[in-house]
Every structure is written in C-alpha cells, then in structure tokens.
C-alpha cells in the first residue's frame, strides 16, 4: 500500500473510519491495557465473586444430583412419553450449542472480515462457547439412558463386532459437536498463550508463576514465533468458519433428515445457523454488560462494541423471523395436509402459548434495535438479550413438541416436564457459571496482545508526522 498522506478532508470520511481509532478509549497506553486486564486476575477476590460462585456451585450440585438420579433410575424420571419421545434434553442441547456459536463467529468470521472491534470481546465470547458446548454435550451424553453404553457412539472395536451407523444424522452430530468443542478449545488456547505469558511475567507468587509458566509454554514474544503464530491463528479462523456453519447445520439434520411433518424441511440448516448466532450474541451481551461493569473494563469494551453486537442481533433476529414466515408459507404451498396441520397446530394448538412466546421474544423484541437510542442503552439491551435467550429456548421447544400430535390421533398427547427435567436444565446453568466464574478469576478475560495490536500506537508509522492520518490502521493491516 502506498504511503502517500491522506488528503481527504476528515469531514468527508464515513464515521466508521474514525471509530476504528476509538476501539480503546480513555487514552490508555500498552501498559495500561495490560494493567486493566491482568489486574482483574491479581486483585483480592471480590466478595461478589464468592457469592456468585456459591450460587454457581449450588447449581452444579443440582446438576450432579439430577444426573446421578437419572443414571440410577433411567430416563423415565423425565416427562417423556409417546408420542413425544424427545423432550427437554434435545431442547437444552440445541439451545446450549446455539449459544456457543456466537463465540466462534466473533473469533473466526469477524477475524476473517478484519473487524478489529472483535478483539475486545473475542476471548470472552470464546470462553462462553466452550462452556456452552460443555453444557450442551452433557445432554446427549446423559440422555442415552444406559450411560455405560455411551461408547456405542464412537467407532471403537468392540466385543459385538459392530460399528456405529455412519448413515445416521445422530452420529454425524456426535462428530460435528465433538470436533466443534475440540477446535474451540484449541483456538481459545492458542489465543491465550501470549496473554498467559503476560500474567506469568507479572505474577508475584510461586504457585501462580509455576502454573502460568507451564501453561504459557515458555512464550517469549519472539517475532520468529509470532510469524508462525499469526499463520496458525489465521488458519484456525479459516477452518472454524465453515465448521461453525456446519455444526448447527448438522444439528438441524437431527430433525430435518427425519420424515416428521414440521421437521422435514430444507430451510432448517440456514434457519438454525441464524438462530444460533442470534441467541449466542444475545448471551454475549447479557454476560458482557455485567462483566464490564463489575471488572471496570468499560474503556476496552465500549458502548460501540455493544451497539455492533446489537446490530447483529437485529439482523439475525429478522432472519429468524423470515424463516418462521417461510416455514408457514411452504407448509401451505407444499399442499401436504400433514405439514399444514403441523404448523397450524403449532400456532393455534395446545402449544400456542409457547409459539407466541417464541414470536414475541425472537421476532418482535429485536426490532427495538432499529433505534440507535435503544441499541446504545444498557438496560434496554440487557432486557432484550434475556428475552432473546428465552425466545430461542422456546423455539427449540416448539420444534421438538411438533410430535405431540402425530399421524394417529388416538396417540396424541401433551408433554409436561417433570421436576427432574427442570432441575437438570437449571443445573446446567450451574456448570456454565462455575466454569465462567473460574475463567474470569484466573485467566485474562480480554485478549491483551490482540487489543494492543489494534491500537494506533502499535503501527510502526505511528507518530511519524502523519498525525490525523486515518489510513494508519488500514495501512498497518495491509502488511
């Protein structure tokens, strides 16, 4: 790229060009960034953390007890019956996996699109991905009933001489979600290495020096290492992008490849992916709004970051709304009686209440984000993000409950969750928040090295008499 000074008057440039310069506010320098992020893990543990952690551990305890009871007594403790053979376990599984998708979207897809604003939130969102996937994987793991048979899902040579059925979408799911979880952890860890090294170099206690020292693998910021490191990061982003799109596609195959009315539709893969990103961003907003407040990270996660996430929520929410409409249209247009019945029954049958909760939360509530004031208001975005999460849970519930009125009216039923269904779901939050709070306490919640890299001072041409040259950032990136 040429180094000619920029001659376009600033007034003519779109504001987005200036916003690039304000990714970090409050006039922080490199050391301040280190200090802000690293000190969160170094100061005395706040009382609020202990209180939150106690609640999280309680939830985790509930999760453990319900799972033990499930293994002891079998899936009969849940509200499953005919014709609804898939209950909350699959609802919760799809919901948690979907939430995870925002993390990969932020870390991989926005990286490939060179959206620099992602650097402040990607670590946080990736952590959320991993913990959400951990919660998600628990459900298919435990729902098999005889959990000691779970190894049937893997192609292991066994005494029966049998192999898993590779033509089944349920097995595709095992591979897709397993790969997704593994790749997410690797991606997250690669991003963490330089930042753990930062913590190692600041630590004052022997124990921390040892643990951070081992985890950082002896990283010393060598430029010869950075070259391979950046390449690795780029490749991971490149392979995670199709992966994240494929994972929810394959999750949707669990439904779409069956021949159940209301499930057997080709719109499922894109519609599930949009819904996943939608719910994931909502969860990032919910958690981020609280965390930036509690840990004083407002200069690094600015209102502009949150506004951009809200724009994505608006986009994906509208896509999901379109999919709901299109499903209805196709149900009518297909001329298939069963298909049409399934959809009319969704909206006006016994589960109409769930359907309309879904519509209100997923289609109507994000529309408030058309207004700039709403997009930038913390209370509004917090409330709406919770609505979206509720709505997306109900979306999966509505889809799963499609089977409650199947082909044979004499077998129609109404699924009611048992107390164990509810406690298992509540307990999964315990697992999620336990992991999340540990992450916030012991690991850098913001990608320190990456944030420094997008600061204007990081450009070797910074301060060479081109002050006000808004093309600096762009120039640095071109290298």
């Amino acid at each position: 790229m040429s180094q000619t000074p920029n001659t376009i008057p600033e007034a003519l440039l779109p504001t987005s060009v200036f916003e690039e310069e304000k990714l970090v506010t409050g006039g922080l320098n490199f050391h301040d960034v280190t200090e802000r992020v690293a000190s969160v893990t170094e100061v005395k543990t706040p009382t609020a953390w202990y209180i939150a952690f106690a609640f999280a551990l309680m939830g985790l305890g509930i999760f453990g007890v319900t799972i033990l009871w499930l293994i002891w007594a079998g899936t009969g403790i849940w509200g499953l019956q005919q014709p609804v053979g898939w209950g909350w376990a699959i609802v919760n599984f799809v919901w948690w996996v979907g939430i995870g998708h925002a993390g990969t979207l932020i870390s991989a897809i926005l990286f490939l699109f060179r959206q620099k604003w992602r650097t402040s939130i990607n670590r946080f969102a990736e952590a959320m991905t991993i913990f959400a996937v951990a919660c998600a994987l628990t459900f298919p793991g435990i729902h098999v009933g005889r959990i000691w048979m779970a190894y049937y899902m893997f192609p292991l040579p066994n005494q029966m001489g049998m192999w898993p059925n590779f033509r089944s979408p349920l097995l595709w799911d095992v591979f897709a979600v397993g790969t997704y979880g593994t790749v997410s952890i690797l991606f997250w860890y690669v991003g963490l290495i330089p930042d753990i090294a930062t913590l190692r170099d600041r630590t004052t206690t022997k124990a921390k020096a040892l643990v951070y020292g081992i985890l950082s693998l002896g990283w010393r910021g060598s430029m010869r290492h950075w070259v391979n490191y950046e390449k690795a990061y780029l490749i991971l982003a490149g392979i995670s992008t199709p992966l994240v799109l494929s994972v929810h596609t394959i999750v949707s195959f669990d439904f779409a490849v069956s021949v159940i009315p209301g499930w057997h539709t080709t719109i499922f893969p894109p519609y599930f992916v949009a819904g996943a990103i939608f719910s994931g961003f909502a969860m990032v907003v919910t958690l981020m709004v609280v965390a930036r407040q509690v840990f004083g990270l407002k200069d690094l996660v600015t209102i502009n970051h949150l506004e951009r996430m809200n724009k994505i929520i608006l986009l994906t929410g509208t896509l999901v709304g379109y999919a709901y409409g299109m499903e209805f249209f196709i149900a009518w247009y297909s001329g298939n009686e069963y298909e049409a019945f399934a959809f009319v029954n969704r909206a006006f049958g016994p589960y109409a209440w769930a359907y309309w909760i879904m519509i209100s939360c997923n289609v109507i509530s994000p529309q408030f984000f058309w207004f700039r004031k709403m997009r930038r208001s913390i209370p509004v975005m917090f409330a709406l993000s919770i609505f979206v999460n509720i709505g997306m849970w109900f979306e999966r519930f509505v889809i799963t409950m499609s089977t409650h009125r199947d082909f044979l009216p004499s077998s129609w039923g109404y699924y009611m969750p048992s107390i164990w269904d509810i406690l298992t779901y509540v307990g999964s939050f315990g697992l999620f928040f336990t992991l999340f709070l540990l992450f916030l306490r012991f690991l850098p919640a913001i990608a320190i090295a990456e944030v420094k890299g997008v600061m204007p001072e990081a450009d070797p041409h910074f301060g060479h008499g081109h002050h006000g040259d808004v093309r600096h950032a762009e120039h640095a990136e071109a290298h």
Binding site: N165, R220, Y229, I235, F253, H464
Partner: protein, 175 residues
Amino acid sequence: MAKTKVFVAEFDTPAQIVEAAGAVSNAGYRDFDAHTPFPVHGLDRAMKIPGSKLGWIVLGHGIVGLSGALLLQWWTSAVDYPMVIGGKPYFSYQAFVPICFALTILLSAFGTVFGMLFLNRLPQWYHPALAHPDFRRATDDKFFLTIESTDPKFDANKTRALLEQIGGKRIALVE
C-alpha cells in the same frame, strides 16, 4: 558445548524495534530475534523472516483427516459390517459427507496447533534472554532485540557497539 550467551537490548516503540531489527539484519546477523508484546507488522520483513511453512503441515493433516474418514466409513459400513439401513447403499458417500468434513477440520486443527508449536520449538521453558532483568516487559509494553552468541558474526564488543549505535537501552549479555 559452551552455553549460549545472548545480547539483549531494549526499545520503547514499535517504530524503534523495526528500525533496529532492520539494521541488525543488514549488518549480516543471522541468529537474532525481536521480542514484542504483540506482532509488530513490518517487523518480519525488516528481519527478513521467510513466510511460515505451517500451511503445508495443515494441508497434510487435512488430507489424512479426509481420507481417514472415508476409509473408516467405507470399511465399517461396506466391508466389516454391511447392513442395509433405510434402503441406502452400503457405501452411501452422500451420507458420509458430514463426518468427512468434521474429521478433515479436526485433523487440520490439530495440525495447526501442534505444527505451530513444533515450528516454534515450544514448549521451551527456558531461554537465556529470560535472564535479562527487564525482559518480563516483553509481554507488556517494551520491545527487545536479542543476538545470540551462536551467530558467526557475534563479537562481544562489536555487537554491543552495534546495539548501542542503533539506540538500544539496558544492553546486557546474559546466559
């Protein structure tokens, strides 16, 4: 073998380290390195570091993943335990696409991460440069240049003079 000694010099800004690394490179040094809190763009070119070979490692892993997935599914479904399910052929390649894809990605990801660590010779929990009292700030806000005694042009006096000339601070020979 004598212990490797390392000259460490400190710089304050990305611009200084790029300039200094360029000067050391132009002076003909080979075993030198820059240590920075984040990748400084343009520094790799100033140091004349060749492009990363990681892509080839990943490609190899991806090919193994794809062919492994195909072999696994073909052998288990069509050879070792053939069974008609849903009227599909034993080797129904369409149904094998998702797992081929997933395993290609999985193996590529392992190749990427472990390939990167391999190329960087990590983990390496000790390096002579770490003995420099200020080196901890290489992960915070300072930029360091190191020249190792294994370099054919290494000379305690001349190398120090060069580092001083290009503006290095807190120059020290550590091991």
